[in-house]
Amino acid sequence: MKTYKLPIYILTVCAALTFVACGSDDDNIIEQVTCDDGIQNGDETGIDCGGTECEPCVTALDFSGDFVQEDASGRPGINTIFNDNDEDKNLFNVTIHADKGLFAQKFEDRLEFYHDIYAESLEIDPATFNYETNILGLDAANFTSLLANTDALQVAPNATTTYYDGTNVLTGRTINDDVMDVTLTLMFGGTSGTRFDGNNDTPQLTSDGVDFGDRSIGAFPYLEAPNSL
């Protein structure tokens, strides 16, 4: 039997070389790449990871380190509208949400200040141009307390989402909710919601006059493709 071993080895090596030679020029070999073959092949960027077919190479990514808060957002426009100086605006962004009630009094002062500004520009005694309990039944203290103490979107998992639709209120924020008109109405609309709505010789302070316009809401990711030139 020994006499046959050498020729068999030679034949085996030749056959293997032939296969490799053919395979190296054959696209089919790409199809044999797998994400669990223990080698980096195909378009993998690491061993059995990356590229178009395999999971990303997580182990190669560095997610370490401490991350420190720079900005925060709950309800829309609150920091912009109710904090009146740069120091407070910065502080509001780096105050944990559980402590934002600290801003309630400043918010209430700001709310009254807006009324004073407008009264003065209209040459009305500011004492007669004050905030009035709004359509949610909230007086100035309660309204601004709500804004500061609960500065988040309250998102109801089993209810219609709306910032305010006339019936439902504070169950989240959809893309086409007119959050600024709601905010202005809560600030200047008074108990009726129409206190300063531009009618009956009043200033228009409850609506900015713009709406969702020609935007649309599609399927996920819901926001439209970016505007182009």
């Binding site: 944990i96 103490n149 893309i175 969702f212």
Partner: protein
């Protein structure tokens, strides 16, 4: 009233100064983050097309003008975008969903209980990790797996507001009319873009919803508002 008037004059100057920079509902709200890669523009949170899902969208770095500014805008690898979910009404995050860029992709972790709450955090790599290639204007990439969909890339700014007129109104120069009628008003954001991170996930991953915060605060009668998560978004920069 003298004190009030003096406050008004001083405040008016500050107001005019602050108003000049106003551009979006949150964006450029503070000089500390103005025009930086951590600047949040808006947060949206709503029921998905599938009513068993919640959608969370954070927009950043807006407003971006179309063209080169939008095409060149990029998420920052040092900035972690974190959706915070409060399940018990104390306004401390019980679950977080974090998004952070690496190479050409956005990596999303969670929802996961954070190892630390508050102003300093880490990427919670023990949470379920998902990945989506960051989209461009022409190449939209969405990853959907186990009922969770994620997207990151430029989008049209969904925020609408006549912010120029708002500046005039709060500075008193628009008196006595106030805001303009619809035919004269102008949506500042109509033609502008933002960078967006969108995540849609089953409510079952978000834990329980506590008593609505406005009810818990005693401002609304019990039972008048549905139970609701408290959700906010933060950006945190690597030190």
């Amino acid at each position: 009233m003298k004190k009030m008037k003096l406050f008004g004059v001083v405040g008016g100057v500050l107001l005019a100064s602050a108003a000049f920079f106003l551009t979006s509902s949150d964006q450029v709200d503070a000089p500390g983050v103005a025009s930086t890669s951590s600047d949040i523009a808006d947060l949206y949170a709503f029921e998905g097309d599938d009513p068993n899902n919640t959608v969370l969208i954070a927009t950043l770095q807006g407003p971006l003008t179309p063209g080169d500014v939008t095409e060149n805008a990029a998420f920052d690898e040092d900035v972690m975008i974190q959706f915070n979910i409060d399940n018990d009404g104390d306004f401390i995050e019980d679950l977080v969903i974090q998004a952070i860029k690496r190479d050409d992709s956005m990596y999303v972790f969670g929802p996961v209980v954070p190892t630390a709450t508050g102003l300093v955090g880490q990427v919670e790599t023990s949470g379920t990790m998902r990945q989506v290639k960051i989209s461009t204007s022409d190449d939209v990439q969405i990853t959907s797996e186990d009922g969770v969909s994620i997207f990151a890339g430029p989008r049209r700014d969904g925020f609408f507001f006549d912010s120029n007129r708002f500046n005039d109104v709060i500075s008193g120069t628009a008196a006595p009319e106030g805001f303009l009628p619809p035919e004269e008003a102008s949506d500042f954001f109509e033609d502008l873009n933002v960078l967006a991170v969108s995540i849609e996930l089953p409510n079952s991953l978000l834990g329980t919803a506590p008593t609505h915060a406005a009810v818990a605060e005693g401002l609304f009668p019990e039972g008048s508002l549905p139970d609701a998560y408290n959700i906010w978004v933060t950006t945190k920069r690597k030190q």
